[in-house]
């Protein structure tokens, strides 16, 4: 029997073709894994909501903390520096000094309190006014009250300013009222740490949520994975849709989380402004900045990818056709 014409074996595609196919496969899998989520709307919505809530909570707290800090920094008497001058400071020297300090880039404004003014204020407030009445000379020094700009209201910076001012001519003594500032800093520090801890725990829970749904997906597709292995698929090829699945969870969950953050902040915006307005008239609740929004979504994508990577682990290598 004479054999019919033999088929030519398919030539292995060139490197360039295979590279193009590789890129094409990535795009295909990207869309395919999105479609997969779409086809299981209930499970997908559930997972996305869990991710969104877990991320929105620390994000909201973080934004509120930032707002708190700007509010406290706006309180003028926080972080003020008092410069007690020598009593014999001449008028021109005083003007000169005030001008120098006003020009300093970390100074918001400078207020001059003359010795006489200081004395009369003191008299008004003090029970010892009679006692002061009998004094032959005014014992109080003239004072410059310096309000630093908001960003300089930190103990390091203020201490540096204090040293600078101390070296100026005619300055007898510099006093820094740091107690309030230190208290505030301690409080915000505690809150910041608490938020970070909450964020880490909820970030871990996102890893678990994503990891678990990817793990279930792998279990459900065990037969499919076996078949594709029989056709000659590499582990990397099989892993790809699961990693992209985790990426989508992260991206969509992150967007949803951002949405939740905005909703929560817009809901509390007016009452918060009303409340703070009692103390500080021009307060506006800050919403997350563009950078902050992008970082929220970015970390969500990272958590999604990492969670699915952990879930995929060696699980796919272990599944073998039988």
């Amino acid at each position: 029997m004479v054999k019919a014409r033999h088929q030519q074996p398919l030539a292995r595609p060139s490197f360039k073709t295979r590279f193009r196919a590789y890129v094409r496969d990535h795009v295909r899998v990207l869309l395919f894994s999105l479609g997969k989520l779409y086809r299981t709307p209930f499970a997908t919505t559930f997972t996305l909501l869990m991710i969104a809530v877990a991320l929105a909570l620390p994000a909201c707290l973080y934004v509120l903390l930032n707002n708190l800090q700007t509010v406290t920094h706006k309180w003028d008497d926080v972080g003020q520096i008092s410069l007690f001058l020598q009593t014999d400071t001449s008028e021109p020297a005083l003007k000169q000094l005030k001008a120098t300090i006003t020009k300093h880039e970390q100074v918001e404004n400078v207020n001059y309190i003359s010795a006489d003014l200081a004395l009369s204020e003191f008299k008004n407030r003090s029970e010892f006014s009679d006692l002061l009445e009998g004094l032959p000379i005014n014992p109080l020094p003239p004072t410059l009250v310096v309000t630093p700009i908001n960003s300089a209201k930190q103990s390091d910076t203020l201490n540096k300013l204090k040293k600078e001012f101390q070296s100026l001519a005619n300055v007898e003594q510099v006093q820094l009222d740091m107690q309030w500032l230190q208290r505030l800093q301690a409080i915000t520090d505690i809150i910041r740490r608490a938020i970070t801890a909450i964020g880490i725990m909820l970030g871990l829970s996102v890893l678990l949520v994503v990891g678990n749904s990817i793990r279930l997906d792998i279990e459900n597709r065990r037969a499919e994975i076996e078949v594709t292995k029989l056709i000659g698929a590499t582990d990397r090829f099989i892993r790809r849709p699961f990693l992209y699945g985790g990426m989508w969870f992260g991206l969509l969950g992150g967007i949803l989380a951002l949405l939740l953050v905005f909703i929560v902040l817009l809901v509390i915006r007016q009452p918060a402004q009303d409340l703070v307005g009692l103390y500080n008239s021009d307060f506006k609740l800050m919403l997350p900045s563009f950078i902050q929004s992008i970082s929220l979504i970015g970390s969500s994508i990272f958590l999604g990818l990492f969670g699915s990577w952990l879930a995929v682990g060696h699980r796919i290598a272990k599944i073998q056709p039988s």
């Binding site: 595609p13 073709t17 590789y22 496969d25 037969a223 594709t228 056709i231 000659g232 590499t234």
Partner: protein, 231 residues
Amino acid sequence: MIELQNVTKRYPGNREALTHLNLTIEQGEMAFLTGPSGAGKSTLLKLIAAIERPTRGQVFINRKNITRIPKRKVPALRRHMGVVFQDHHLLHDRNVFDNVSLPLQIAGFAQVDINRRVRAALDKVALLDKEQMMPITLSGGEQQRVGIARAVVHKPAILLADEPTGNLDPELSAEIMRLFNDFNQVGVTVLIASHDLDLIERMSKRIIRLRAGECIDSQSPLDAQNFEIHN
């Protein structure tokens, strides 16, 4: 093309599924593998596809020793083969075209080549008009043909089939066997495990009979004809 030298396979906690088996299948040959249930037919095919490793002995594919082939080289080996299963193992979340194109996607072919090859394979199994359908909407025989198209779309040198006609009526079974014969005609080495003695005897090809892990008979087509005459 396929050579087994003194192969023994023992599954953990079981008796030997194959015992000191020697077998050579030449390039371009078509052979049937038959024998009672538990004889070791599936095991033999699994050794060839590197799904299982032999306990003793050597397995050669195309003169390459695959007995201890490392895991990372298995995908490349399998791309030279096509495998057809009894329950066709189609992926139900994608249509016929995407199922058949899978081996080409995996191997990284250009989209134009994929389109051309998939259509050629579907044409061969007479399913060209069903390429957009989902597997679940096809009949059993059609699903089996999709499985066959997927197994041959990348023009493998070896085609393995385990009970490919197990669930089909006699007419469809004969049609599937003719398809395998066609592939063999263009040079593909074909090895088919089957219970269906009537059918495979009519094909007048080599028949390898296993019983309890041993090869008890290996008839060439000529012997097969004699066998028919004597009975």
